[in-house]
């Protein structure tokens, strides 16, 4: 039952790649936006806040559709990016983009939550010690937000690992290029009698994601122990 077809192996590896790239690639942006939302006030903040949540609210298919409109070859951003050599359409990079977008609200929220819990008095202490606010952010705020960053990464990774609606709409289902594990699973659910196959792949998917989650927990616990002694 656990012997994999070459196509499935490809899909699994691709899923891992897509989910990792999506998560790590969106992390800097997630941190930035989380920081803006947690610590700054500026006009349009509420709008930004709502915007970040959009991928949760909009059905994935619609998100995929919007991504296609924006980042497709003919899309305003897509055509511009293509000129500088960045192509998303029908590429695994597009799958990563879709997954990143879908996981973004989760990433941002978790990081923001942790950042808001960082005691601003510690940041003030850092500043009196001569550290520029940006360095205080790097040396105090960010390390103390680690639980949220880890949680955000886990959520975003898990989401990416399960994402399918936006991905398949945006970059289709091209084996070896954009066919991730969930796309493969979906295919099986659409054929009569494919349940067993779908379940098999689902279990594999769960097993992989579970390992990732457990690793992150270990990491989180270790960093917590360091802070709490």
């Amino acid at each position: 039952m656990l012997s994999l077809t070459p196509e499935e192996t490809t899909a699994i590896l691709l899923s891992l790649k897509v989910a990792s790239v999506a998560t790590l690639g969106s992390l800097p942006f997630g941190v930035l936006i989380a920081w803006l939302l947690a610590r700054k006030t500026f006009p349009g903040k509420a709008l930004l806040d709502a915007l970040v949540h959009l991928p949760l609210i909009i059905p994935p298919v619609v998100t995929g559709y919007l991504l296609l409109l924006l980042f497709g070859k003919r899309g305003p951003l897509g055509s511009w990016l293509a000129e500088i050599g960045i192509v998303f359409a029908f590429r695994w990079t597009g799958a990563a983009l879709a997954c990143a977008v879908m996981g973004f609200p989760l990433l941002v929220r978790a990081i923001r939550l942790s950042m808001e819990a960082v005691d601003p008095r510690l940041e003030a202490a850092g500043r009196t010690l001569g550290a520029h606010p940006a360095l205080v952010f790097l040396t105090v705020t960010l390390p103390l937000s680690l639980p949220g960053i880890l949680a955000g990464v886990v959520l975003s990774f898990a989401r990416a690992f399960g994402e399918f609606g936006a991905t398949v709409t945006f970059v289709s289902n091209i084996p070896g290029e954009t066919q991730t594990l969930p796309t493969a699973i979906y295919t099986f659910t659409q054929v009569p009698g494919g349940d067993a196959q779908a379940l098999r792949l689902t279990l594999i998917s769960i097993a992989i994601a579970a390992v990732a989650i457990l690793l992150s927990e270990l990491l989180a616990r270790r960093s917590a122990r360091r802070v709490l002694g």
Binding site: V168, V171, Q190, P192
Partner: protein, 237 residues
């Protein structure tokens, strides 16, 4: 209420028929549109539906095998064709024939948009047709398979893919695509939309409503939406 489970692609037509005058007996009708696969599995799980309108034969067979179809009520409601499409602005023109230069039409790095060739009916039919026409090997590595026909249509309409294969009914409504040619009916299994009353259905008007879908007025609506209306004699399929 009369509860109809219908394939999502039938929505435009069915909504018009439901609200249209005297096409079907007036009744409190609710139509749940979803993927045929989902509907079939829900019926299997005991959904309180009266009628099932599937977008392909396989899922109706699946339901029938589970003895959930009221004997004698199954019939073919509609037919459809698959066509080769290109973006509306495309200058391409091809004639579908055995060995036709589909790969050439895609250009250097273009992709052929299709619905999932293993799972979604339109994809399965398209694959069969391309195999029959012996162009399958040349385009197989260059497919972009969508979740469903709508995704395929979208890829071509947006110009992301230079060509795609969709139902004629879809191509008929989407202004941003142009049908290049239809695949000959003999290159793929017949595309049929079976309909049946379900064995648990107790609604007194279920049968009459199903019959109404086969009325001339209903057929006119279906035809308007690009479906092929199946001759009465084939209805026993």
């Amino acid at each position: 209420d009369l509860l109809v489970f219908a394939a999502a692609s039938l929505k435009t037509a069915l909504d018009e028929i439901k609200t249209g005058q005297s096409i079907v007996p007036p009744a409190q009708v609710k139509i749940s549109y979803a993927a045929s696969s989902a509907l079939a599995k829900q019926i299997e799980a005991g959904a309180p539906a009266d009628l099932f309108l599937s977008a392909d034969l396989d899922w109706m067979d699946y339901v029938e095998r589970k003895k959930l179809v009221k004997p004698g009520t199954r019939g073919t409601l509609l037919g459809n064709r698959i066509v080769l499409i290109a973006p509306a602005g495309s200058k391409a023109s091809v004639k579908i024939a055995p060995g036709f230069d589909l790969a050439g039409l895609l250009g250097k790095d273009g992709r052929l948009a299709m619905a999932d060739v293993n799972a979604v009916p339109a994809g399965k039919y398209g694959k069969a047709a391309l195999q029959a026409l012996q162009v399958w090997p040349s385009v197989q590595p260059r497919l972009a398979q969508g979740e469903n026909v709508r995704a395929t249509l979208l890829l071509v309409a947006r110009g992301e893919a230079p060509a795609g294969i969709v139902y004629a009914s879809d191509a008929a409504v989407e202004k941003n695509v142009r049908a290049l040619d239809a695949f000959p009916a003999n290159t793929h299994p017949p595309i049929l939309y079976p309909a049946a009353q379900l064995s648990d259905s107790r609604h007194p008007q279920a049968a009459a409503w199903l019959a109404g879908l086969r009325s001339a007025a209903a057929k006119a609506v279906f035809a308007k939406n690009g479906f092929t209306v199946i001759a009465a004699h084939a209805a026993t399929n």
